[in-house]
């Protein structure tokens, strides 16, 4: 890793188990899309205009004092690995990581606030919080938005609200999302129905399949599908309602997994997963995610997995491909990476 990211701490505050329902909601994010009056949107801007919007945006971030001792990054100064590392840490998007034009990001010292510059919009500002914490994430993101909005003239009109490059973001420019961990609903095969129901509630659900039909690590991201025509708080409330409903369903599913003959099977699956994490010599990211998901559920059920939820969360972040390479201090091939990952996982779970 180059100099640029040396100062990133290995642990991240928002990845500790916190907020409400930390065993079911990994984290909450609120982001606002904003643009500068007087400049074309990044997709139509010339490189020198982008250099100018970046200069203005990063200077404004500095001026807010919310980024004291934070990071101010220019994409072109980062290696591919460093960009990937920032994506895994949720500070920048894949699109920004792939950018060849003047772009960048500001990340606060605690890594809870970030401003992406010259991605699809001039500014994408966000706040991340541990667990289910929509109100907290919203009020922090709003504070950041207001601070930047005083330093810069945002593109805004009374009719359409905040003006963005894509009409799907116009209006509040706000996206509220929760990263939900739903291993029990997944295990019981209820996710297709759950997702079907969600699609009628004005929310977008995203899951990632591993092999077969199981989402990678049983993580699903739920966010508002629209952002114009209602107040920010209304959009927050809708997601809040949807997530509470999901949590109720996951609780019921976990209870079902502990009833009758299922209990022994569940316990067996959890401790087999833990055994694998403690003893495997090669671990792909996908296999790690499948097993850590079960072990994490076991910890949430109160079984003695020897590791608390915060440690599970941090390990889940640290075992991602770029994080593993950063920890190794050198680029690794896939084989070496899986071996190194297994070594780190064994250490994290007290295995041998």
């Amino acid at each position: 890793m180059g100099e640029a990211l040396k100062s990133f701490r290995s642990g991240i505050a928002w990845a500790n188990a916190g907020g409400a329902w930390p065993d079911m909601v990994f984290s909450t994010r609120v982001r606002f899309a904003r643009n500068l009056e007087g400049f074309p949107f990044p997709n139509r801007a010339e490189p020198r205009q982008l250099a100018e919007t970046r200069r203005l945006a990063l200077a404004a971030a500095r001026a807010t004092s919310l980024f004291a001792r934070g990071h101010f990054l220019k994409t072109e100064a980062l290696s591919a690995l460093e960009r990937r590392f920032l994506v895994e840490r949720h500070h920048i998007s894949h699109a920004l990581a792939a950018s060849v034009l003047p772009s960048g990001a500001a990340v606060s010292c605690d890594e809870d606030l970030a401003v992406m510059v010259n991605e699809e919009d001039h500014l994408r500002l966000q706040c991340l919080r541990a667990g289910f914490a929509i109100e907290e994430a919203f009020s922090s993101a709003l504070k950041l938005d207001e601070a930047l909005g005083r330093e810069l003239p945002f593109a805004y009109g009374a009719r359409f609200g905040f003006l963005t490059a894509c009409p799907t973001n116009t209006g509040t420019g706000m996206r509220v999302s929760c990263l939900a961990h739903l291993p029990a609903l997944s295990r019981l095969g209820r996710m297709p129905q759950v997702l079907e129901n969600l699609s009628h509630l004005g929310v977008t659900a995203r899951g990632i399949y591993g092999e077969g039909t199981v989402a990678l690590g049983d993580f699903y991201q739920i966010s508002n599908a629209t952002c114009l025509g209602r107040a920010e708080e209304d959009f927050c409330q809708n997601i809040d309602r949807v997530i509470r409903n999901l949590i109720r369903q996951e609780i019921a599913a976990r209870e079902a997994l502990l009833k009758g003959p299922l209990k022994l099977r569940t316990e067996d699956a959890v401790f087999r997963a833990l055994g694998l994490l403690r003893h495997a010599r090669r671990l792909s990211y996908e296999e790690f995610m499948q097993n850590v998901s079960l072990a994490r559920m076991g910890a949430a059920m109160g079984w003695n997995t020897g590791t608390d939820l915060s440690a599970f969360n941090q390990v889940t972040l640290q075992m991602q491909p770029a994080h593993i390479q950063a920890a190794a201090g050198k680029p690794l091939g896939p084989e070496e990476r899986d071996a190194f990952r297994a070594e780190r996982v064994r250490a994290a779970f007290g295995g041998r």
């Binding site: 949720h90 966000q126 009374a158 609200g161 004005g202 977008t204 591993g210 114009l228």
Partner: protein, 173 residues
């Protein structure tokens, strides 16, 4: 197993379901195509961007946007309405005024409303542009001013002179 809707070769591994005004659309992609579209294996990446997906879904905007005569374009950045229909991306903040009737219809379809009801924005500090950017803008205004004077469009000329004065004032301040 479903095949990726982008490359039609690899098995789909990422699914996305969108519900917009009760119209449910599903997208199935292989990991490589998903990564290209910014939906990789990260957890809650800042990456996930509904507009990337909606905007890239062929036909999404085309179906929703009213037809318009070919010559319609943004008076500020010059983006053609037909280009917007194709890409789903606007060119600059002024596009919203240039395409207002069409966007009003589109917004109602995407968001179920075309009137902002969130926080009002009082405006922020004026931009502290770099010397180079100020000079470039002054040069543009100067050229426009020459054109306006030639056309004997004195109303525009007066407006352009004011704009130049404002820019120059900002430079000194």
């Amino acid at each position: 197993m479903k095949l990726c809707e982008e490359c039609h070769k690899e098995p789909a591994a990422v699914f996305l379901k969108l519900a917009v005004n009760n119209k449910v659309t599903e997208t199935h992609l292989c990991p490589a195509c998903a990564a290209r579209k910014g939906m990789g294996f990260g957890l809650e990446t800042g990456a996930f961007n509904i507009s990337d997906i909606v905007g890239n879904m062929s036909g999404y905007f085309k179906d929703f946007l009213p037809p318009e005569k070919k010559t319609l374009r943004c008076r500020a950045c010059g983006l053609k309405y037909s280009e917007f229909k194709e890409s789903g991306r606007l060119g600059c903040p002024d596009c919203y005024a240039s395409f207002e009737p069409q966007l009003t219809e589109l917004m109602a379809r995407i968001h179920g409303s075309s009137q902002h009801a969130g926080r009002a924005y009082a405006g922020g500090a004026s931009l502290k542009l770099s010397r180079a950017e100020t000079a470039r803008r002054l040069e543009e205004l100067r050229a426009e001013l020459r054109g306006a004077v030639e056309r004997e469009d004195f109303e525009s000329a007066a407006r352009l002179r004011d704009a130049m004065k404002a820019l120059e004032g900002g430079r000194r301040g």
